[in-house]
């Protein structure tokens, strides 16, 4: 990795620079957060010219390390008002790293309302008017670009939601098949891209030469061990490839932590109908695909391809969080309707978690009834038609809930909670409350020790031990996100003592100097410190590190649990940041 492209959308100029020393060995979230903390005024309006959108592959991306093709997309978030790193699969990170690009930074914004596209290839990066692309959904936009540039390209782009700069807008990334199914979904990164009037970025890696590690033997030894660790763990070698992420539905439901009808109860009577087991059978029966990789080089392959009853492609996955958000959270038990909503979210360029949660809040408000899949699809069509109601939906659960006077809004820092009720899985509640990202399960996935028996066991219903669990996971996760590794490698890392040394050995091989387990943790801590300080300067206080009141007051069946981790303990999660 050697180049950072600075794309100035105010004067439409491009500058390629060698990374300054402080960014030289950073990648992924460690780079996006360090750069934002150094260069973006924390109090700026997220859609103003001062904000920057940073797109960065990980430290290990493009080296051939297993499962290392994840992309970090960062900016000040229009959804949370804080710093954001949104992580995506797909081919984007690999294509950029193949071109030797450490990051693309979108800066400024045009004075007129022309839409632009960026074209990146072995010759450099150029800005062009995006004639004919504006107004298109992601699927049509990608089809046009592939027609013009060929099938080898990778596209990053925004749909109508990003064009409207709505706070739940995603950045879509194309997958191995060239479909816009993978998204940097969380936190409205698509709105920031839209504010800079960039409709799409076309990356053509043709003619690029993959970056070589400084010490290839060392790198190879690490990669071999790492692959062995992934192969040796039943989760990464069997359950995830066979059933995909949605295998969680039944276990979270059994644990009484599957948020149902806008977080009213912890079990959904329709869980089996939308479970990973059922999804697996439906996919195989219709000629879809299991064991699918979202990017080349992923050996876990948790992705799937979902077909309709006529055997025609509908969408990828859908993933656990998406199925829950549009399913149990809305009281909907129809897998085909959920797949259709996933397809619409991808096409409109929307975060599936935020949108499912928003539909549930709309149901809570009485805009549409719980359980009505057709009405839910109707609300997505409002987004498509760009109506005022559609804009509310695309702005997320907090905004829509506020507009309708709803009290039960499951958000932290303005971002909707994912598919685990924090009253019945208290470790994930600590992560939701304190993460620099707003309510985000991936920031510190305490479901591991709380429910899954991975990385030890901590009783999910007891407040004790959750803060330490969440802190340690948040630190390790920030480092994993810097590597460009898929977070699912963490299942192996938590259970197999050889996996982390293997990662460190790969990084040592890439840099050509020793990178230890302590360096790994230090990188995670430094990244979180940048993020915490940015958020504090943006105006966040301890009061923002709290769950909404109803989680403390309304007992959740079947355990009748409330969230009772003391505030004073929540304030200790970041005790390492001064």
């Amino acid at each position: 990795m050697s180049l950072i492209y600075r794309v100035n959308m105010t004067d439409l100029s491009v500058r390629a620079e060698s990374p300054p020393a402080e960014y030289a060995e950073r990648g992924g979230r460690a780079l996006t957060s360090a750069l934002l903390a150094a260069e973006v005024p924390p109090t700026c309006h997220p859609l103003a010219a001062e904000n920057k959108l940073v797109i960065a592959p990980g430290i290990l991306t493009g080296t051939g390390a297993p499962c290392s093709g994840r992309l970090s997309v960062g900016a000040k978030s229009p959804l949370t008002g804080g710093i954001k790193e949104s992580n995506s699969g797909g081919m984007g990170a690999l294509a950029l790293s193949a071109l030797g690009i450490q990051a693309v930074v979108l800066e400024g914004k045009p004075r007129d309302d022309t839409w632009y596209r960026l074209v990146v290839n072995a010759d450099g990066l150029r800005i062009e008017p995006a004639d004919g692309l504006a107004g298109l959904g992601n699927y049509d936009a990608v089809a046009r670009l592939r027609e013009e540039f060929g099938e080898k390209i990778v596209c990053l782009g925004i749909g109508p939601a990003g064009e409207m700069a709505c706070a739940a807008a995603s950045v879509a990334v194309t997958d191995i098949e060239g479909r816009p199914t993978r998204h940097a979904g969380r936190g409205g990164m698509g709105a920031v891209m839209g504010s800079k009037r960039v409709k799409a970025m076309v990356v053509d890696p043709t003619g690029a030469r993959r970056p070589q590690p400084a010490d290839p033997d060392r790198f190879k030894a690490g990669a071999k061990q790492f692959q062995a660790s992934l192969n040796g763990h039943p989760l990464t070698s069997q359950t995830l490839p066979t059933y995909g992420t949605n295998i969680l539905a039944n276990v979270i439901n059994e644990a009484g932590a599957y948020p149902t009808r806008n977080f009213r109860v912890g079990q959904f009577e329709g869980a089996e109908a939308i479970s990973g087991e059922r999804q697996h059978d439906v996919i195989l029966k219709r000629g879809g695909k299991i064991e699918h990789a979202c990017h080349r080089g992923c050996t876990i392959r948790c992705s799937r391809i979902y077909h309709d009853q006529n055997g025609q492609f509908v969408t990828k996955g859908p993933e656990y969080e998406t199925i829950w958000a549009h399913g149990a959270d809305c009281g909907i038990d129809d897998l085909d309707a959920i797949a259709q909503m996933d397809r619409m979210d991808d096409d409109l360029g929307l975060d599936t978690i935020e949108i499912g949660a928003t539909l549930a809040v709309a149901m809570e408000a009485g805009v549409i009834p719980f359980g009505d899949a057709q009405a839910a699809l109707g609300l997505l069509r409002e987004v498509q038609r760009r109506t005022p109601l559609g804009r509310l939906v695309a702005s997320g659960a907090a905004v829509l809930g506020k507009a309708y006077g709803v009290v039960r809004i499951p958000t932290v820092k303005g971002q909707a909670m994912p598919a685990y009720d924090p009253r019945a899985i208290k470790g994930i509640g600590v992560t939701y409350a304190t993460s620099t990202m707003g309510a985000d399960h991936t920031a510190g996935y305490a479901v591991t020790a709380n429910v899954l028996g991975v990385g030890g066991r901590v009783d999910p219903l007891c407040p004790e031990g959750q803060v330490d669990l969440s802190r340690n996971l948040q630190i390790a996760t920030a480092a994993v996100d810097a590597m460009g590794l898929c977070l699912f490698v963490a299942f192996a890392v938590l259970d197999d003592e050889h996996a982390l040394p293997a990662i460190c050995q790969m990084v040592s091989g890439v840099h050509g100097r020793e990178f230890t387990g302590d360096d790994f943790l230090a990188l995670g801590k430094a990244t979180l410190a940048h993020e915490r300080r940015f958020n504090a300067a943006a105006g966040f206080t301890a009061a923002d590190d709290r769950l909404p009141g109803f989680f403390h007051q309304e007992p959740l069946p079947p355990h009748d649990a409330v969230f009772d981790v003391p505030d004073a303990e929540l304030d200790q999660v970041f005790n390492f940041v001064r």
């Binding site: 763990h233 039943p234 989760l235 069997q238 359950t239 995830l240 066979t242 059933y243 995909g244 992420t245 949605n246 295998i247 969680l248 039944n250 276990v251 059994e254 644990a255 009484g256 079990q267 089996e272 990973g276 087991e277 948790c302 993933e319 656990y320 969080e321 994912p418 399960h441 991936t442 996935y445 479901v447 591991t448 429910v451 899954l452 028996g453 991975v454 066991r457 009783d459 999910p460 219903l461 977070l487 699912f488 299942f491 079947p558 355990h559």
Partner: protein, 77 residues
């Protein structure tokens, strides 16, 4: 004899003869581990056990009427 409902998930469904739920009569004092032996589920294949929605160990004693859930290694998110 007390009756027990056992829910099998993911790859463990093959031990229920294709059905996700098995109803069984047990002798009082039977442990979850003994129940799994009776279903011929190798202990190495189970990672998560619930009795009435709470995590349980194989030595958990059943009295009848409980809902037992058995999972292999599960993850995602």
């Amino acid at each position: 004899m007390p009756r027990i409902r056992v829910n099998l998930y993911a790859s463990l469904r093959r031990y229920g003869g294709g059905s996700p739920t098995v109803e069984m009569d047990i002798a009082p004092g039977t442990t979850v581990g003994q129940l799994l032996d009776e279903l011929r589920i190798p202990s190495g294949e189970t990672r998560i056990l619930f009795v009435n929605h709470r995590a349980a160990a194989p030595d958990h004693t059943l009295t009848g009427g409980e809902r037992v859930a058995v999972f292999p290694a599960i993850g995602g998110g």
